[in-house]
Structures are given as structure tokens and as C-alpha cells.
Symmetry: C2
């Protein structure tokens, strides 16, 4: 069994690993958890003892298979709870993160399996992120950033990269939600902004926004 702190480290390492080949540095972990490198080193040693990470001094960490599975299960819980909050308790997608951060640590296999069933075995959370199955496998979607679409290309909005409340509320305001079809009408060279069409309306989108929205062609 893992402590709350251990689970948070595992989750951080899990997220950092998906997006880099090599081992995850102590600093990267510390930064992601808003703690100090020395604290991270301490915890890494504990996780290594518990055989959820491989660790060699000065060379960062990698999750073991067991560690991956454990971390994926925490992510699974987090995302299932997010679906529950949005679909059953009228939370908006920018409100769920903090609460899900707490709920993901509740220990009860039955609870999470029944919740999964209650929600109809969802495959994605409210931000479009895939929900790992019981074995930790995820159904990778071949999504690309809106910024990488070329002129006149079209696709469906399937996820966000940045899921901060601010960004999500901005999207709500602009009417951009998951499932909406987006067409790129223009790409401005001088500031990399986009002119898109959504709901038969034209909308200008900055580079920053376009780099945080995932599209499926």
C-alpha cells in the first residue's frame, strides 16, 4: 500500500515519463510537485525500495512495470471521478481537478469498478484525456495540436493540453468544447495566430491557444 505522498510522486513520474524517453530527473519531479530536489531524492529512495521505480544515483528514475500499473490506476481513478463530477454533479470542467486530486486516493477497488459501471465505462475524461483500464492500458488517440493543422484542414476538438481553470474558462467563453468541429481558414505568419471556423462562426485564435488544443482529423 502506498501513502498519499508516494502516490503523488508516482503520478508525477508517470506523467513526466509520457513525453520523454530517458529517466526522469530529480529536479523535474521536484518542480512538478512544487517541492525541493532534496525531498524528491528522499522519496525516490523510498519508491525504489518499494520497487516501483528503478533508480541509480545521479541518473534519474524510471517506473517499473509495477510502478506504471500503480500510477495508471491512480490516473484512472482521477479521471473517472472527473467524469462523475461533471456528468452527475454538475461540475464544470474547470472545477474538477482539485476535488479529483483528493478522490483519486480513496482506496476501494469495488468503489472504482462500480463507479466505472455507473458512468457507462467512459473512455475519456472531461478534458479529453484517456482513462486507463484496470490493467493500466490506455487507448491512445491520434490527436494533434490545432497549431499543427494547415490552412483549410478540418478536425474535431478532442482534448486540451493545458487544463488550468483559466484556459478552460476561456474556451467555454469562446464556445470551444470537446466534440466541436473546427476548420482552419487562415494562418497568420507574423504572429502564428489562426482564423478558424467553429459553429459556422469565424474566430481568431492566438498561437498559445492553438498550442493547447488537441484536434483529431
Amino acid at each position: 500500500m502506498f501513502t498519499l505522498s508516494e502516490e503523488n510522486y508516482l503520478k508525477a513520474i508517470y506523467h513526466l515519463e509520457s513525453g520523454s524517453e530517458k529517466g526522469i530527473s530529480t529536479n523535474a519531479i521536484a518542480k512538478s510537485l512544487e517541492t525541493k530536489a532534496s525531498s524528491a531524492t528522499d522519496m525516490i529512495k523510498k519508491l525504489s525500495e518499494k520497487e516501483v521505480v528503478f533508480y541509480k544515483k545521479y541518473q534519474g528514475v524510471t517506473l517499473t512495470d509495477f510502478g506504471k500499473k500503480t500510477a495508471a490506476n491512480i490516473v484512472r481513478k482521477h479521471r473517472l471521478w472527473e467524469v462523475f463530477l461533471v456528468e452527475r454533479l454538475n461540475f464544470s470542467w474547470d472545477e474538477v481537478h482539485e476535488v479529483a486530486e483528493q478522490l483519486e486516493h480513496i482506496k476501494s477497488p469495488k468503489l472504482i469498478n462500480q463507479l466505472d459501471a455507473l458512468l457507462g465505462f467512459p473512455t475519456h475524461d472531461p478534458h479529453g484525456d484517456p482513462i486507463p483500464d484496470k490493467d493500466g492500458n490506455i487507448n491512445a488517440v491520434d490527436k494533434i495540436l490545432l497549431a499543427n493543422l494547415t490552412k483549410n484542414e478540418r478536425g474535431v476538438c478532442v482534448g486540451v493540453h493545458d487544463s488550468s481553470s483559466e484556459f478552460l474558462r476561456f474556451l467555454d467563453k469562446k464556445g470551444i468544447t470537446l466534440g466541436k468541429e473546427i476548420t482552419v481558414l487562415e494562418k497568420e505568419d507574423f504572429d502564428d495566430s489562426l482564423l478558424i471556423e467553429i459553429d459556422a462562426e469565424k474566430l481568431s485564435i492566438s498561437k498559445k491557444i492553438a498550442n493547447n488544443l488537441y484536434i483529431q482529423k
Copy 2:
């Protein structure tokens, strides 16, 4: 804000207070939390600093109004989650306690209010215990122990005193659930057992059982 440990102490004191007039002793608290008296003393001091209990050395503790409200809110959360687990996630009434012990510490007013609404503002948990409202007020039911009914008296089963899994599973086996009507046919003097009628069937009930079942006349 209170730590997990502080919340558990508050809840224990709250439960111990309902059933005694005076202050709650250090030992009683320690016993109820399966810890040592010295640990209880330490925590009592912290709770006293936070003004949730009145405390004078060697004289036990009493909850302040603030403390009562805080504790009632934890109990409210615990019981609402129990309803959710039984009514929405197919848990049986003997399985919910452990999970609710975890869920009761989740901090999110919106979560609990929405959950309350989702469940249709239930007034009692699956064991018949009343659910405090947002202000900590509870709707006291005038229930009595089955053991205190006299021959030929009748009533409805509205709660259990002992809510251990073993007892609840025993009740399930005998077909005794909340809402069932029970008539006392005989009271045996030599062992204080009861002969009751339930669902038009006769059933013999030991003193111990009769002392753990609440009836509303």
C-alpha cells in the same frame, strides 16, 4: 482547516458526547480511536488551541459550538456517502463503513451539496442513522430498542445500534431490513429472547440482537 487526524478525533468526541452528559474522558477517546491516552492528550491540546473543544486538565473535553458543527459536517459527509454507495453503487449496508471513513474527509462543499441533491436529500443513512443538515442539526427519531417492546407490541425497524459487518450480515440472512414491520409475540423470561413476527413468519431473536435493533412504534 483540519487534518485527517484532527477530524477523526472530532468525530469520535461527537459520537461519545451523544450519550453522556459530562465531558468526555481522555481514555474514552483513546479507546474509541484505538490509540493511547497520551496521544489523545496531545491531540486534545491541539483541538483546544483550535477552539473546537473546551479542555481543562484531568477533566475531559466538551465540543464547542464550532466543534459540534465541524464534527456534524463530517458525520453528514460520511452518511451521505454511505447512501450513495448503497443506492448508486450497489454496495450492501455492511460494506460501506470503511470506504465512507475515507470519503468523509474529502474537502469540497460543492461536492457534498451536489451529492445531497443527486440522492434526493436523504434524511437517513443505510443503517437508519440521521443525516445532519448543513448547519449540523439532526432530525431525531424517537426510536426504541426492540428489547424494550412488550408482548404484542408492534413497530417498524428503523435502525441498528451495532453496525458491524457481522451483525448486518446476520440481519440480512434473517430478512431483517429497515422498514420491515415487527411484532413481538413472546418474551422468554429465562434468557430474555424474543419470538417475533416479521413478513408473516415467526422468528426467535436473542437478547443481544434485540438490544441492537431500533424500532419506531
